[in-house]
């Protein structure tokens, strides 16, 4: 198989539940669940049997209403939370033979610093608000083993320039910045170590429309230039339409449909997707 057809990241049967489950929800069909929730024991099944591939250089969109499990999935992929069960393989890590969820804490840190970058909806989660912007990037570079101050400064400056943070503000702390600028610093930070995979969770949600557009433009531009693979999560199908090559639709912790983005938009199969597309136009 050629490079184009080989996934960079393969996710297989990922489950994430909050709670231990009970006889009712564990033994029987999941029909007993109300949305993703067991009415008997209160267990929440946030991600159920999620399987997908991410290919080199593609943008994969994940869309679904709030509570459908998108952010939980992103948190599991970035090791912010542990999965309940499931596997994930990265082609460039140990030849794609190691389930990254079962790696040691140290190896997980390595993957987080070298293979993945993540941008959160809430900049407080991705940035140290009191560090300088360039310091935020240095932090990530140091975590990946860099020690050369001159090199780190150069890299930080280049990255921040790339995301349109003016040179004279690079020493400033993100807490002084607008929401759009904070997201751009977060993106620069996530790209510090040239990860092949970028995870974006609702990165434009809550921003003014024009600021939203400029952040999306930036993402598109970076994706083109760096040819990285991106998973972009949004409740907003408009965002997905703008960026994603392929799209996965989530509802109540499950993937209900996936396909080429134009197919999802023009020929949605699942009632929920149809409703979502309908409300877009």
């Amino acid at each position: 198989m050629d490079d184009f057809m080989t996934p960079l990241l393969s996710i297989k049967n990922v489950n994430k539940q909050f709670g231990d489950g009970c006889d009712t929800c564990l033994q029987q069909e999941k029909d007993v669940l109300i949305k993703n929730f067991c009415p008997v024991c209160g267990t929440v099944y946030s991600c159920q049997d999620i399987t997908f591939d991410l290919y080199p250089g593609e943008v994969l969109g994940i869309v679904g209403e709030s509570g459908s499990g998108k952010s939980t999935l992103m948190r599991c992929l970035y090791f912010d939370q542990d999965v309940t069960s499931g596997e994930a393989f990265i082609r460039s890590y140990k030849d794609g033979k190691a389930n990254m969820f079962e790696e040691s804490a140290q190896q997980k840190r390595y993957i987080r610093n070298h293979v993945l970058g993540k941008v959160y909806q809430n900049p407080l989660l991705g940035l140290r608000m009191n560090f300088s912007s360039i310091g935020n990037i240095a932090e990530k570079l140091i975590a990946a083993g860099n020690r050369n101050v001159g090199h780190m400064e150069d890299r930080g400056r280049a990255l921040l320039t790339h995301v349109n943070i003016p040179t004279y503000r690079m020493k400033e702390a993100p807490k002084n910045f607008s929401g759009g600028m904070q997201q751009r610093v977060q993106i620069a930070k996530a790209l510090s170590n040239n990860p092949p995979i970028l995870l974006l969770d609702e990165v434009t949600t809550g921003l003014d429309l024009s600021v939203q557009a400029s952040v999306l433009d930036l993402i598109k531009q970076l994706q083109r230039e760096l040819n990285i693979s991106i998973i972009i999560v949004s409740h907003d199908l408009g965002v997905i339409r703008m960026l994603a090559d392929r799209t996965m639709v989530m509802l109540d912790g499950k993937v209900v449909e996936q396909g080429l983005t134009d197919q999802i938009l023009e020929d949605p199969q699942h009632p929920y997707t149809q409703q979502l597309v309908h409300s877009l136009v």
């Binding site: 598109k220 080429l260 197919q263 023009e266 009632p271 149809q274 409703q275 309908h278």
Partner: protein, 239 residues
């Protein structure tokens, strides 16, 4: 000559769950296209022409039947069952689609839009720049517009850009969904000129044109549709 496209028994209907509707769009469609041909689909609005093209491009998922395409990279491949990744690859490198609608990318200038089409095929930046300029010039898009955003363009300008972007790739198979419908006459002539040139270079085309005059002396075969079905097939001999 070999068939580049053999469509057998394609059917497509839409189930709209939220309004409890089932719409039969096309049924029992057989079409073949030989390499290097120009094949036209005609029929009234609503007869299913675009649905056929969208099934080939996989914007629609066909329900049944097969769409055999003779790919340069994959050999014979059924587009109805190809993986999404294969479809993405084929769209980048072999199969083009032009409609009246331009899907603009944000913050992308006209020039970049055309360049990208070439870049995604793996060509170098320099040749992309040259080819893009050539194509923009051919379509007489005002050079003052080359570096501005298409969102601000007039309908005709957008359309010319759209066609330029698809044609610059010199696809093996080009699907055309009434691209000239809203164009003025001189633009139509431009499109036709370029189609002739592409054909001479080996591009095969399957197109819907309202204006039959436009297809005259270009078309090898015409399929006429009515109510989602093919009614007639006419072979034109003197092309």
């Amino acid at each position: 000559m070999e068939n580049i496209l053999t469509i057998k028994n394609i059917a497509k209907s839409f189930t709209l769950h939220n309004v409890n509707k089932h719409i039969k769009a096309i049924d029992d469609i057989d079409i073949y296209v030989r390499e290097g041909e120009f094949v036209g689909i005609t029929g009234k609005s609503g007869s299913g022409k675009s649905t056929v093209l969208k099934c080939i491009y996989r914007t629609y998922l066909p329900q049944s039947g097969s769409i055999w395409y003779d790919s340069k990279k994959y050999g014979p491949i059924d587009l109805a069952y190809a993986t999404e990744r294969q479809i993405i690859d084929l769209r980048k490198n072999e199969i083009g689609y032009v409609s009246q609608f331009l899907h603009v990318m944000p913050r992308t200038t006209a020039r970049e839009l055309v360049q990208q089409a070439i870049l995604e095929m793996g060509h170098g930046r320099e040749s992309a720049e040259q080819e893009a300029e050539k194509m923009l010039r051919h379509f007489e898009l005002d050079p003052a517009l080359w570096d501005s955003y298409p969102a601000t363009f007039s309908g005709g300008e957008k359309l010319r850009l759209n066609i330029a972007r698809a044609m610059v790739k010199r696809p093996r198979l080009l699907l055309l969904d009434e691209p000239t419908a809203s164009l003025d006459n001189s633009s139509k002539v431009k499109v036709r000129e370029l189609m002739e040139q592409l054909m001479a270079e080996g591009t095969t085309m399957l197109g819907i044109f309202h204006d039959l005059e436009f297809m005259k002396n270009l078309c090898h075969r015409e399929y006429n549709m009515q109510n989602g079905r093919l009614i007639t097939r006419v072979e034109m001999l003197d092309v």
